[in-house]
């Protein structure tokens, strides 16, 4: 049976209460909005690229503990990464939260993000965990319309 403590890990709760990189990036060259209207989760992700490298990444918005902590920890993980490293990390993250891969063996790559593996036990919450990541991807791709992970 799924255990709440697997979902609401200390690190996740802590990030949801005190999110990191929670600010606007005035000089952002990429920005996108993610919005899950059914939940009411809405975030903006700001990116400042330096060539192929993410020089600065930050976010603002509101949402549930899972979506907010995911956004916060995503910004920490992505800062300094190249585009392809970031895309690969998103892929790994996606596999883990949807339960298609286990976090254990390969968790060095995911680092702290492995705490989100508990989400896979709560299928209705996967969309919360990946909202910020999809928003990041949309920002990279320069999408104008807001993205959603619902439906």
């Amino acid at each position: 049976m799924a255990d709440l403590r697997d979902l609401y890990q200390e690190v996740i709760l802590e990030h949801s209460k005190a999110p990191r990189n929670y600010r606007e990036v005035k000089t952002a060259d990429h920005k996108a909005e993610g919005y899950n209207p059914l939940c009411g989760d809405r975030f903006i992700v700001y990116l400042q690229m330096e060539g192929d490298r993410i020089q600065d990444i930050a976010f603002q918005g509101s949402g549930c503990a899972i979506s907010k902590a995911s956004a916060s920890m995503m910004t920490q993980s992505l800062k300094g990464k190249t585009r392809s490293e970031a895309e690969r990390l998103f892929e790994r993250f996606h596999e883990v939260v949807t339960g298609r891969a286990r976090a254990n063996g390969d968790s060095a790559e995911l680092g702290k993000l492995a705490v989100f593996s508990g989400v896979s036990e709560f299928p209705t919450r996967v969309k919360c965990a990946i909202l910020a990541w999809h928003t990041f991807e949309a920002a990279l791709e320069g999408k104008q319309e807001s993205v959603s992970t619902e439906g």
Binding site: Y8, C39, G40
Partner: protein, 426 residues
């Protein structure tokens, strides 16, 4: 309510907390097989009745019986089963007529849902009577199903959608509503009971005000009929819509009441079989009421199930249901409202058994997940009423909505669950 006759099961009644005489909630619960199950290792506490309610065994039996014994297409065959199926279907219509206290059975149109009923009125009556520069007046507490059909109509006709505001308690501000009733207002549409807030609108007064200006009123009764007796003739409403599945009946069936004088003049909604009396490639003559609005083979089994649900409710007594649910609401409002950090959204004086709330520092979605792990089903999100969320400055709420099969013990479980949320989030 303490003078009811002694009933055979009175001696079984727990005396302390169920003061509605003749109502034994445990006995009633036994009629709903789905309630007797565990979810995540806990006894299910189902508090999402405003989304959909559960079905008593008599409804399930009626549907099965229909398919096992009576099924055939209606209004066409000369054969025995077709006759039986037609009779079942038309009897269901009469039962709905009685339930709403409509003057004639032909004023009851079977539809898929309250949503379809409202769309029907917008696309038939609305398209004929609303023109450029006209107005449709709704309220700020409507469900999306009573906003979007009117928006679509207004867009097509270059008409304006006007919205009467609500106060901080979630009540319609009647003076403001009255001020918005103008010379260009062609339709008023409002909910009888708000799904997100539970507020009961003073529909009789609203209808009287609108009728003073000869404006017809469409009432969305989806959240009202499960909780109170409704009399469309006393209300004098022009249209009244409801869904079967919120009324302990099956999904996919609902009804629209319309005054015959209006329905007669309206163009059909959809074309097809059953809604015509004769067809040539040059000219089609439409069938009489109510069949003019029921194109295609309808949901006969759904109508049969709806009839069984209404008869079940009639046996329990809507007054008894209302009195019992009022107790549940008072108890839940008090117990949930007194939890530190919890704010109730929607505190109208006239309310159905819905408790919407938000919690300091915890998103409703997280509340929903934690309660679910305790076996407690509530709804979280915007409840298809995003403008209501905006009015109260929240993105979402957690909503516990009650039925007559809920108990005070279940409300205690809800309160314990909310305390657990607080433990998790510190």
């Amino acid at each position: 309510m303490t003078t009811a006759a002694r009933l055979p099961w009175d001696h079984l009644q727990p005396p302390a907390h169920q003061v509605v005489a003749g109502f034994d909630v445990e006995r009633v619960r036994a009629d709903f097989p789905i309630l007797a199950q565990a979810v995540h290792g806990h006894k299910l506490v189902y508090l999402d009745n405003a989304a959909t309610s559960h079905k008593p065994q008599v409804v399930l039996d009626a549907i099965l019986h229909y398919y096992q014994h009576d099924n055939a297409n209606i209004h066409r065959g000369v054969h025995y089963l077709s006759e039986r199926a037609t009779e079942e279907y038309e009897t269901a219509r009469k039962v709905v007529q009685g339930f709403l206290h409509a003057g004639r059975a032909s004023e009851i149109i079977f539809v898929r849902s309250a949503t379809e009923a409202i769309n029907l009125v917008a696309q038939t009556y609305g398209r004929v009577h609303v023109g450029r520069g006209d107005e449709v007046l709704i309220t700020a507490m409507e469900h999306h199903s009573n906003i979007v059909p009117w928006q679509l109509l207004c867009e097509e006709k270059e008409a304006k959608l006007r919205v009467a505001p609500i106060n901080d308690q979630g009540e319609l501000i009647v003076e403001e509503f009255r001020a918005l009733l103008g010379a260009r207002t062609k339709i008023v549409a409002l909910s009888h009971v708000s799904n997100a807030l539970g507020s009961v609108n003073p529909v009789a007064e609203i209808i009287r005000l609108a009728h003073q200006k000869n404006i017809p009123v469409v009432v969305d009764g989806a959240q009202a009929v499960p909780h109170m007796a409704v009399n469309v003739e006393d209300l004098d409403c022009d249209f009244y819509a409801f869904s079967g599945h919120k009324l302990y009946g099956p999904t996919g069936i609902g009804a629209l009441y319309g005054k015959a004088a209006l329905l007669d003049q309206m163009p059909p909604y959809q074309g097809g079989g059953d809604m015509i009396s004769s067809v040539t490639f040059e000219k089609t003559v439409f069938n009489k009421l109510p069949h003019k609005f029921e194109a295609g083979t309808p949901h006969m089994a759904g109508a049969v199930g709806l009839r069984a649900a209404i008869e079940y409710l009639n046996r329990l007594g809507l007054d008894t249901i209302e009195a019992y649910e009022r107790e549940l609401l008072a108890y839940a409002s008090e117990k949930v409202g007194e939890i530190p950090g919890v704010r109730l959204i929607g505190t109208a004086r006239e309310k159905a058994a819905v408790v919407s709330f938000v919690m300091n520092g915890v998103h409703p979605h997280d509340i929903g997940t934690i309660l679910d792990q305790e076996g407690i089903a509530i709804r979280t999100g915007h409840h298809c009423a995003q403008p209501v969320m905006g009015r109260f400055g929240v993105d979402a709420t957690a909503r516990a909505s009650f039925a007559f099969y809920n108990t005070k013990e279940e409300i205690d479980r809800l309160v314990e669950g909310i305390q657990k949320v607080r433990e998790v989030f510190g």
